[in-house]
């Protein structure tokens, strides 16, 4: 029944992106563990890099899925990915150092069952559905974990639920001023959900190019990292947050320029203050 709207032309095969994204994300999340080993918060920015790696993989998965007509908008795919990912990620944070791996497995199980549900019970019959929803739940969970590590410096349940607040110069523990207690998890949720669907939504069309879309994903990831780094000033030391911010800004400027170059390369024309070109018959 399902009609394939466009085929994947050329470019890096999806499996390579999958493996690179998965390994990159896990390695980057684990690198934030250097915070614990060295007793500082300076390595939080690796969480942001994990976000970028996970999003690059996830946006390509969305491309694979949405090449079939799924009947509703591209953004919904990002919503379901993060809706299932957020729950897996929070349970996984209870497992300490094992958290990223647990998040991976748990999200895979949830995504697989959701894929089965949509494909068989809802009768969508899209060949890529099960694998795509599995991958997207993993991406959702790992992206949120990356944001958590970036903003709080760690990925354990205790770290995400407690913060400190300074009242009259005294440092008091506070559960309100934390990643979960303050609701920053909602911001991370939507930052990821929009960043994962935007690249395909914004580059779809007959002239779709893989490298342009993936560069845009990296751009969205670094842009999200900039604002997440600004938020992290509230929860980690200023030096650590500053490092994240500088890394994010440099990454964003580079990817934005690259993306604009690629768009210039692919566009029919790049005009400034010119009228609509004449085309025959109109």
């Amino acid at each position: 029944m399902s009609v394939k709207v466009e085929v994947i032309e050329g470019g890096v095969p999806h499996n390579n992106i999958l493996i690179a994204g998965l390994v990159g994300t896990l390695v980057c999340i684990y690198l934030t563990y250097l915070n614990v080993l060295t007793g500082t918060e300076l390595f939080s920015f690796f969480g942001g890099l994990a976000v970028v790696a996970a999003l690059v993989w996830g946006s390509h998965t969305i491309k694979v899925l949405c090449s079939y007509g799924i009947g509703t908008g591209v953004p919904s795919a990002g919503m379901i990915a993060f809706g299932s990912g957020v729950i897996a990620m929070l349970l996984a944070t209870r497992f300490g150092i094992m958290a990223p791996v647990v998040a991976l497995v748990l999200a895979a199980v949830i995504g697989f069952i959701l894929g089965y549900v949509s494909n068989n019970i809802l009768n969508m019959k899209i060949p890529a559905m099960v694998q795509a929803l599995t991958e997207m739940a993993i991406v959702g969970a790992l992206t949120l974990m990356g944001f958590a590590a970036l903003i709080t410096g760690g990925f354990t349940f205790a770290g995400l639920t407690s913060g400190s607040i300074s009242v009259m110069g005294m440092i008091l523990p506070s559960y309100q001023a934390s990643f979960i207690g303050g609701g920053l998890i909602a911001v991370a949720f939507l930052l990821g959900a929009i960043a994962i669907q935007h690249p395909f939504n914004a580059t779809l069309g007959p002239g779709w190019k893989q490298d342009r879309m993936l560069m845009l994903t990296a751009e969205c990831g670094f842009l999200s990292m900039i604002v997440a780094a600004v938020m992290s000033f509230a929860l980690i030391s200023a030096v650590a947050a500053l490092i994240s911010l500088v890394v994010a800004i440099f990454g964003w400027i580079y990817t934005y320029q690259q993306y604009m170059e690629m768009s210039k390369r692919d566009a029919a024309a790049w005009l400034d203050a010119k009228p609509i070109p004449d085309v025959e018959a109109h």
């Binding site: 029944m1 399902s2 009609v3 709207v5 949405c66 079939y68 007509g69 799924i70 009947g71 509703t72 908008g73 591209v74 953004p75 919904s76 795919a77 919503m79 379901i80 993060f82 809706g83 299932s84 957020v86 729950i87 897996a88 929070l90 349970l91 209870r94 748990l106 949830i110 069952i113 959701l114 089965y116 549900v117 949509s118 068989n120 019970i121 809802l122 009768n123 969508m124 019959k125 899209i126 205790a158 639920t161 559960y175 309100q176 934390s178 979960i180 207690g181 303050g182 609701g183 998890i185 909602a186 949720f189 939504n201 779809l204 069309g205």
Partner: protein, 278 residues
């Protein structure tokens, strides 16, 4: 809303084997919950499943026409079904969460009325813009007569379109959908909130007052997440557009009930496990 030339991929047929597998999965998940946390955990999970089913069922009522509705080519509200349902349901969740300390029944009904109110105002304004802004009367494309008012539809349909605007049945459907969504979202929130309030203080070794912000935020976030999962699954079920309860696609609801129940049970189980002592 997508510019991909979306073809409705899902057929109207049911898949009995998959439905049976779904129900078995649901029972297994409830069983797991009974083993790890009988009592409060199982109660919370059942609440989450009921809430998820309400959301999934309610989304079927929301009249959404997608992109063609924005051009007056198809009846319904011109936006995405999942997100419109989410807008109404979350507005309901907002009201329900506010009334949380007044007890389960009051909170859930308040949430439902909040969602219904949001949809009533939105649907009324949609018709207002169609009639007074664009001079277009409402006409359904799927039925000859409005099932509630008995108004004939065909002669108000303009040429070359499938209908436009919101006939009265769609308005009523929208209000019912918002009500069910708001009530479902609130039910999920209240169940998880009472579970977390009960279990988190012991787990984190802090007082009940200190645990409140975490319990509220986590329960609220999960309610939003579960809402989106259920609404998107329903959107897949009806392939993005529906006119309301009179639309033939509405008959697909049994599939969505099973799907929502399984998805909510699964996510709910994970949400319960977060506070189960290990």
């Amino acid at each position: 809303m997508s510019a991909v030339a979306a073809k409705p991929a899902a057929g109207g047929a049911m898949n009995p084997t998959a439905m049976a597998v779904g129900i078995v999965m649901l029972i297994i998940i409830l069983g797991i919950c009974y083993v790890v946390s009988p009592g409060i955990g199982l109660m919370a999970l059942i609440g989450v499943v009921v809430g998820g089913v309400l959301i999934g069922f309610g989304t079927h009522f929301v009249p959404v026409g997608g992109a063609p509705a924005a051009m007056g080519q198809a009846p319904g509200i011109a936006t995405g079904v999942a997100m419109l349902a989410a807008g109404a349901g979350l507005a309901g969740l907002f009201g329900g969460a506010w009334a949380a300390e007044q007890g389960l029944v009051v909170a859930v009904v308040t949430g439902g009325v909040g969602g219904g109110l949001m949809m009533a105002i939105t649907c009324m304004m949609v018709n207002f813009v169609y009639v007074f802004g664009m001079g277009i009367p409402s006409a359904s494309g799927k039925v000859a007569k409005d099932p509630i008012t008995g108004d004939t539809q065909a002669e108000f349909k303009s040429q070359g379109t499938e209908g436009h605007g919101l006939p009265f049945i769609s308005f009523v459907g929208g209000v019912i959908g918002g009500t069910l969504g708001g009530a479902g979202g609130t039910l999920i929130y209240i169940q998880l909130l009472s579970l977390y309030e009960e279990m988190l203080p012991g787990m984190m070794q802090i007082t009940e007052a200190q645990v409140m912000p975490i319990a509220v935020s986590a329960a609220g976030m999960f309610a939003v997440g579960l809402f989106l999962v259920n609404a998107v699954l329903t959107a897949y079920n009806i392939t993005g557009t529906i006119e309301g309860p009179h639309d033939p696609k509405f008959k697909r609801w049994p599939r969505a009930i099973v799907a929502s129940a399984v998805a909510s049970a699964l996510c709910g189980l994970v949400a319960v496990l977060i506070v189960v002592p290990m």
